[in-house]
Amino acid sequence: MSLPPRARQLGVVGCHACGLVCEDKLDETGHADCPRCGAALHRRRPDSLARAGAFLLAGMIFYIPANMLPVMYTSLLGSGSDNTILRGVVEFWKAGSYGIALVIFTASVAVPCTKFLVLGLLLATCRRRSRWARRERARLYRLVEFVGYWSMLDVLVVAIVAALVKFQALSDIEPRLGILFFGMVVILTMLSALSFDPRLIWDGDDTNR
């Protein structure tokens, strides 16, 4: 089966906001707006690799304090304790709540680590203009886009639990600094995925770039 032509070969560019296919005059004008919706037209997301790499690196750095620092302080009948994300998972597992332990582990450890690995792999292979496993890499990117925001789960759980458990002397739950770092990790990796341009996966053949 012959593959479809690419926008660059036909001299057209697609608007990222409304999808309209426009004639590519970016070489002459330098800057052009979509005639239908007014968004700026780009052949590729600007500075894709640099931006995605910077957001990814920042996210990985923040992931360390997110796991080391407590995310929540629980006091029950006078005795208080700080909880990290992982300790919460372990406690659920020991208490026999395997399902809930798995949900939290998936959202707070498996998903962020998968994102680091996948985005790192995509950035490294695209920088080398690799032609290796392009369909699979395109799938990986869509997977990261799809699962990325579920990591916000932990932040929400802490928020809801902290809002509910307010019984002065009896019991109290407060958010702690770790959850700020964790939320930042989720936002930064989402920004990284949004800055990365999946079209770069397919740009390996173009020699005129």
Binding site: L3, R8, C18, V21, A138, L153, L170, I179
Partner: protein, 209 residues
């Protein structure tokens, strides 16, 4: 600038295709990277508008009524979604309350408001004043709408607390569940289709394809 309404560009790999008319329920995939190109709309604008109206009601209930109610030794406490966000705003992790409020409350609200604005006009084949910026914002908001994560967060928090307090669901949790489904149907779908629906009535320098 020439535009080509009969073409569609895969936003994941830049392949160019002639736009077809998909049969109901049909989805067009990119032959190169297997991403979704476009799909047949399961809703007409009238149904879309009706579901958006339902989302307005669900949003109000979800954000006014408490989602969970707990009791511990005769004391009661309940929290609505916005109170959970407010609970984050106290203490060291306070800055995370801002993205949290955006993702579970403000972004979904903006999506609903924008759709309530553009859909009645689209129903009669017209573009609302400010249609272009509204559509650009709708596309940009999509990755940041996280009501479904909020729903899972409520459930996890409920299970987490059920070991040491009595937990009862509030009206807000049902409304949040309804809002989750409605938002997926009205805002996660292909809003770009509205451009084509309102194409004929639009005056302006559109080149015929």
């Amino acid at each position: 600038m020439k535009t080509f309404l009969n073409l569609v560009i895969c936003e994941h790999c830049d392949s160019v295709y002639r736009r077809g008319v998909p049969a109901p329920g049909e989805v067009a995939h990119c032959a190169q990277c297997a991403a979704v190109l476009y799909r047949a709309s399961r809703l007409d604008v009238e149904q879309w508008l009706a579901l958006t109206a339902a989302a307005v009601v669900a949003f109000m209930i979800a954000n006014i009524c408490p989602v969970v109610r707990i009791s511990l030794q005769g004391q009661h406490n309940e929290a609505a979604l916005w109170q959970s966000v407010a609970a984050l705003a106290h203490g060291a992790a306070a800055p995370i309350a801002v993205p949290m409020a955006l993702c579970v409350i403000l972004v979904p609200l903006m999506q609903i408001v924008l759709l309530v604005w553009v859909l009645p006009f689209a129903r009669v084949g017209r573009r609302a004043p400010g249609f272009a910026p509204a559509m650009r914002i709708l596309v940009a908001l999509r990755p940041w709408s996280m009501v479904e994560v909020g729903l899972l967060g409520i459930l996890v928090a409920t299970i987490k607390l059920s070991s040491f307090v009595e937990v009862a669901p509030g009206a807000g949790i049902w409304a949040t569940a309804a809002l989750t489904v409605l938002l997926i149907v009205i805002a996660k779908r292909d809003v770009q289709g509205l451009w084509a629906l309102t194409e004929r009535a639009a005056p302006g320098p559109m080149a015929p394809a």
